[in-house]
Amino acid sequence: MAATRDGYGQALLDLAVNEKVVVLEADLGKSTKSLHFRKQFPERTISCGIGEQNMLLTAAGLASSGFIPFASTFAIFTERAFEQMRNGVARPNLAVHLCGSHGGTHTGTDGSSAQSIEDLAIFRTLPNVVVLHPCDDVSTRLLTIQLADLSQPSYTRTARNKTPVMYDGRESEIEIGKGVVLQEGTDVAIIACGVMVSESMKAAEQLTSQGISATVIDMHTIKPLDEELITKVAKSCGTIVTAEDHNIIGGLGGAVAEFLSSNIPTPLERVGVKDRFGESGQADEMLELMEISSPHIVSAAIRAINRKK
């Protein structure tokens, strides 16, 4: 078990050999895990105080001068700087890498004010912006390292709480823009991101015991969406379930629905937060309350299969 935010912190240390890499914080470096970088490279770490708007544009100014800025805060507070991200970063296509930690209801007891359930949706609407939501610390670390080579900005959501490590020996398959098939099946394809990937694997196991064979995909990149892979599993499985700790509006489920309806109409069940706010509770209690834990993925898979012609 490990938290994706630890993968982010580790990646910043890995990237530090590149002197162009700079780190920006808005008083949450201890939480987002940029603190490890700060401790070792204080001269390349910029404290912006509790000021997210200023942080985003300071990062933009650094990017315009040839640096590779990694800025982080809680996912929910990145939203305060949405217009800065839109007008100051995405529009001039400056390669600023924004990380929102503590995303989703899984963040837990801090309650609904801290549980961003719309970040993936809003950043996905911005041209030029790559949107990531990795499922474990291993993939977060590798994807974050890859970001440094991008010539466009990005938003990455990480999670506060620990989740199972999904990648052990398959690291070479992790690449921005490419979903990873964690398990191959024939009856239904479950496309998940973030903390819901391990829930989906649990669901697949439960489905197996019912004689149902499921494909499970870690769709760590929400944008650009791996359309080739979605097309492939839409054909091979004939029905799809998406799973995310995010509003069912506009996130991974929304992106997959948009693609399927325009290109390869396929029955789709979306597991996600049903357009409501959360409350204080433990991470596992939240997944239960939001009806997105593995039993709910199982039910959605059965509904999806029943919708096949």
């Binding site: 200023n54 544009l57 990062a59 529009r91």
Partner: protein
């Protein structure tokens, strides 16, 4: 070679003519804030900024960030005078595909260092440029022009606080204190009380000048250029619409174009012969 006050005044006059022409041709745009800022910008470009019109992306250049990006005609006029863009390019203001976008845009126009259009963003961006200069050991200086209405945006004060925290002595602000914003006089929209005291309280070095008196402008820009141990702000008291009688101190010309008759009056007042 440094221009004299008289030469700077003539440079600014030529820019004023182009500003009014741009807005007149487009029948849209922001003449008021362009005319209030132009004496300052003209002097800055002519005598202070270390830039190379032939290589606008020269890494070690000084940066000029027009945060009040709607006052783009003023910036385009001086960029054309300096040779970053052609006089012909000025005709593309607000025209589809034109280098002179409605608000200054670094993706479209050579010599523009910041894509503006949303107020309260330029100082933060300038901070990033200033930190970059420091990290690279560069002598470059960063000049940010803010509008007075613009400093009602809270994020300006995030940046003001952060710039002092980081002791960015290479970051300089010129505040175009023209006392008018979109809807009305600033005093009506949001009273700002003692603006110099606010910046001083944030730890900045502050100087006030008459933003249309070239001798004072030179003195003020000298102050900015030579204050390198602290972030510095030059508060320039200006007149919105300066140089065109009916636009002066008139909130209606924050964002409106002159009609044919008004255009003729403006050209006459600015000493421009129009066929």
């Amino acid at each position: 070679m440094s221009m004299s006050s008289t030469e700077l005044q003539e440079l600014a006059r030529k820019c004023r003519v182009e500003i009014v022409k741009m807005v007149y041709r487009a029948q849209a745009g922001h003449p008021g804030g362009s005319l209030s800022e132009i004496d300052l910008i003209a002097a800055l470009y002519a005598n202070y900024l270390r830039v190379k019109p032939g290589s606008p992306d020269w890494e070690d250049r000084d940066r000029f960030i027009l945060s009040k990006g709607h006052a783009s005609p003023g910036m385009y006029a001086i960029l054309a005078e300096m040779g970053f863009i052609s006089k012909q390019d000025l005709e593309s203001y607000r025209v589809l595909g034109g280098v002179c976008q409605g608000h200054v845009d670094m993706k479209w126009c050579p010599g523009v260092d910041f894509s503006a259009g949303s107020l309260g963003m330029g100082l933060s961006f300038g901070m990033g440029c200033a930190i970059s200069g420091r990290l690279k050991g560069s002598e470059r200086q960063i000049f940010v022009m803010l509008g007075d209405g613009e400093i009602q945006e809270g994020s300006v004060w995030e940046a003001a606080m952060a710039a002092k925290h980081h002791e960015l002595g290479n970051l300089k602000v010129i505040l175009d204190r023209n006392r008018i914003q979109n809807d009305d006089f600033c005093e009506t929209q949001m009273r700002m009380f003692d603006i110099p005291a606010k910046w001083k309280a944030f730890g900045w070095s502050v100087k006030e000048i008459n933003g249309h008196d070239m001798d004072e402008i030179v003195e003020g820009l000298d102050f900015l250029k030579n204050t390198n141990d602290n972030p510095a702000i030059l508060i320039a008291h200006t007149v919105k619409g300066k140089g065109v009688s009916y636009m002066e101190d008139n909130p209606s010309f924050h964002g409106a174009a002159p009609n044919d008759e008004q255009f003729a009056v403006a050209m006459a007042e600015l000493g421009e012969v129009v066929n």
